[in-house]
Assembly symmetry: C2
């Protein structure tokens, strides 16, 4: 079973949601094939992004939401002290950019952590479509609600949990998201740096590194640079204290 996500995507033009590996859990999930056709018509698929390429910047006018087709996108804001705050990592099949809907301006930056492909979905077109496709409207409401729920879980994690619990929860989240893509849930590459992980989890790089070492010593993980193998997923669950 492949454990990395470096799949090369095909040229952009003739690509349809119908052919996409992610269509079982991306936007088209609620639609029949003629409706998917309508969605396809409004989606634009530009050439792949290279590492560090920017999808949009904070302060930039909001026009579209995006779906990840391959690779990994990092969202982050900057606070008043100019420090970066990572707000999420987006894997294939996930939608991002919904933070800009309220004020018509993006509050986050979005950059590629590796070679990635994204689908751009112009929001004004999407809302026209949701007006006539109730299933799509409902699905989009649910996607936004999902984001609210997961942000709230993040708040709980930061507010109540130790460094070890945070990292364990993070790894389990990556595990299930990899499985959803039909990749291994126990053997995968981290697309992000230790410092991105630390920033996301409210920890310093040193703490992240120490916890990785500790979990390796405990026999829960095998860590080699960015390559992670989960050796004892039950113990990882216990360490994470998340029941879901």
């Amino acid at each position: 079973m492949p454990f990395n996500t470096d799949l090369k995507c095909k040229p952009t033009s003739d690509f349809s949601c119908n052919d996409c590996r992610m269509n079982a859990f991306c936007l088209p999930v609620a639609l029949n094939s003629s409706e998917v056709g309508q969605l396809d018509d409004i989606i634009s698929r530009d050439k792949p992004l290279q590492k560090n390429d920017c999808v949009y910047s904070a302060g930039q006018a909001f026009t579209s939401v995006y779906a990840v087709r391959s690779g990994c996108i990092k969202s982050y804001t900057t606070n008043s002290r100019g420090e970066e705050q990572v707000t999420g990592f987006h894997l294939p099949g996930e939608i991002f950019g919904m933070d800009g809907i309220s004020s018509k301006v993006h509050t986050n930056f979005a950059v590629a952590l590796q070679t990635s492909a994204v689908c751009e979905i112009p929001f004004s077109h999407l809302t026209k479509l949701t007006g006539v496709l109730p299933a799509l409207q409902n699905h989009f409401f649910r996607l936004m609600s999902n984001e609210i729920v997961s942000d709230q879980q993040m708040i709980t994690l930061l507010s109540k949990n130790s460094a070890e619990e945070r990292l364990a929860t993070f790894l389990l989240s990556l595990s299930v998201r990899n499985q959803r893509q039909k990749f291994s849930g126990t053997h995968f590459n981290l697309p992000m740096s230790r410092s991105d992980i630390g920033n996301y989890l409210g920890l310093t790089v040193e703490t992240v590194s120490r916890v990785f070492s500790r979990l390796q010593k405990l026999g829960v993980l095998r860590v080699d640079k960015k390559e992670i193998e989960i050796l004892d997923i039950d113990q990882l669950h216990e360490l994470s204290t998340t029941t879901d």
Copy 2:
């Protein structure tokens, strides 16, 4: 005939969004008066909630979102250890309950912190209405996006900021939300306990109490039980380190 026997009746049924003090920033904000009428028709306004009354519980089927008309509603979840995690305080004009949209089950509990009145908006009716009123659909998308943005700001606050910065930011948030209701932004009562504040901000009761004392000693606040007077709002802004 006694009028208080039918507990299911709507004692405020002749109440309309048009008459509501909050309509300038609640759901009706994007609608003309005939559209507000359609919205009114689907909203039910039950009798006021007493302190500790529950609007819904985690695990309960999701059917409606809610708007606060008066009082204050606290949202919270419980984690795997059974600990409470406060996820928000909802003041008049604010919508809550959107966490249940994705899974059709509430993930939060919602309880009244004081005598409160809420409007119940059945979600299936609301989505029918958003299907035919594009302005309402857009506004609801924006409300959900707002919630995402404010949850992400909360993540940043918890991840990067000290106890003092968290409490200062919290007080400033209450201040602007009070002003929006045309109440004083510098002199108000806290609807929630110290322990609710601490829980929300990822701090212990003792720390919240100590920071209140310190801010009072600095001359930034006057604190008397739940009564808060902001004496130096500029310094409070500096302490909060939020630019917005």
